[in-house]
Amino acid sequence: MALAAVLLIIPIVVLLWVPHYARVEPELLGFPFFFWYQFLWVFICSALTWTAYKLTLSARGLTSHKVGEDR
């Protein structure tokens, strides 16, 4: 579960730290870095969220239902 939480927090931290990607170079297919980098993160974030989902599923399967414990 801790790993899932980390996977979810990564994109939030990266995208809110704007100065590291607010620049033009290197360009890709005519797109300034600022733009293609954020498009790239759409896919990375999706993959991380899917992984986190699979992790929560397996965590749910391994433990028995206990009141007071979230999965």
Partner: protein, 572 residues
Amino acid sequence: MTPQVTVLAADTDGINGVALSVLIALFALVTIAGFMATRFKRADSLESLEEWGLGGRKFGTWITWFLLGGDLYTAYTFVAVPAAMFATGAVAGFFAVPYTIVLYPIIFIFMARLWSVSHRHGYVTTADFVRGRYDDRGLSLAVAVTGFVATMPYIALQLVGIQAVLEVAGLGGGDNIVAKDAPLFIAFALLAAYTYSSGLRAPAVIAFVKDILIYLVIIVAIVYLPGQVGGWEAIFGAAEDKMAATNEATGGPTGSFIPGAGQGWAYATLALGSALALFMYPHSITASLSSNSRNTIRRNAAILPAYSFVLGLLALLGWVAIAAGTQPIGLDGEPNAQLVIPQLFEDMFPAWFAGVAFAAIAIGALVPAAIMSIAAANTFSRNIYKEWLKKDATPAQEAKVSKLMSLLVKAFALIFVLTLDKQNAINFQLLGGIWMLQTFPVIVFSLFTRWFHRYGLLVGWAVGMVYGTVGAYNVKNPVTGKAFGGSLDNIPGIGEMGYIAMTAFVINVVVATVLTVALRAANVSNGRDETIPFDYFADADDPRVQKDLAEHAHHEDPYGDPDDVPGNAPAR
């Protein structure tokens, strides 16, 4: 900048017959689909909020994907985001991309808990949850009223989206007041009729058509248009030139090509603040709670970013329009950036395809408008009508009030748009985002802990609302000098420009925390909690959930824990 484009752009007067015919045909198609939707995942009766207002809570992964996509990425988004890119550049427009990326990890974290507790207790709105969590009518009312009031201008803005399309198609102009607004009136009357009869099933069905059209139109545009205007290098070059040019009214640059030094905070706080606020809106909650399992929500958090990608492409179409030299001039002869996307399609594509694009935007307005009016109506009937006006209302009466309210809400939106300046709707929408974020602590913090005190949360909410409203009022438009000129202001203590809603949110949380410490020290009661820890991770396949749903379908039990001791509710 190519000459033939300018020639095409001049041809904007009069009615575009082919485009209009395509638009009307597609519109007729979704209207029929809307009325037929009562048969979709058919229920014995639609006379309860569970069925009319939440589609029976049985939408699977793909229906939820279309429904949420259709709900969150509204016609106004499609009109306003490229318009902002076109007019003032990346900070005002492209923040929509990080906004809709960070959105999904955030909802992954809390929405499954909200889904589970809502399923266990039959909650339809977030105010229902707050009522159950603290047994506090005041706090619940604060959440309900905030959601209701913030949703109204949002519905009005969907009309602005339809208006933009009709205006470019050549309808809606002229001095004759009946001819001017009749198309909009008819569109909304039809929408109101099938929402009334089919409930949430109507937008669920129409969302399929809407999203397929949107994907088709944007992908075609993004593949075809850049070649017509000289490629992406030329597009970004034209945008950079325009944004660096001096704005005559303000003396500063027109806008931002990419966020420069000192604009990082603005970009980040706009993205984060908007992401935190979006799923506080009643219409987002309604679409989420209509899904059939908590995992449906989590799977959707992973696949909904597909829409964010398309939204990013759409934002860049605002810059394609700069390179194409699009002149968004309204029928009144005034420049209006909101018309830029419909105008770009009319200039650059054959009339029939422009018609498809217009239909995509117009139908794109119907889905969110339907869900928003259902969500606002549910909030009213659940948290105002049943809670304050008629405590013994039956589920059938609740549904009746909701259906009538959905009509009233739409009528109000129509009057709002037809009688007041459009700018009012935009101002209220800006305020709505600020307001919704102030309910975040009450709703989301309470999903994880009852440490926060209900009165602390209430006062924090109130302080955040006042700060945000006053802050937004004090932002003057640099050209006209009018209030509500934008959503950015100096962040106290940091000295950078940032989203007012985030500043208000931080103040809100600090006030709530300080008061909580004081109130807990003074041993003031924090209300009764009718939920137990198990409620927050129950899933649909759980027999106890099934049993609860059956019980709560009839609302014979009042809300609240029967024995007054929080946290000890037996497994029912």
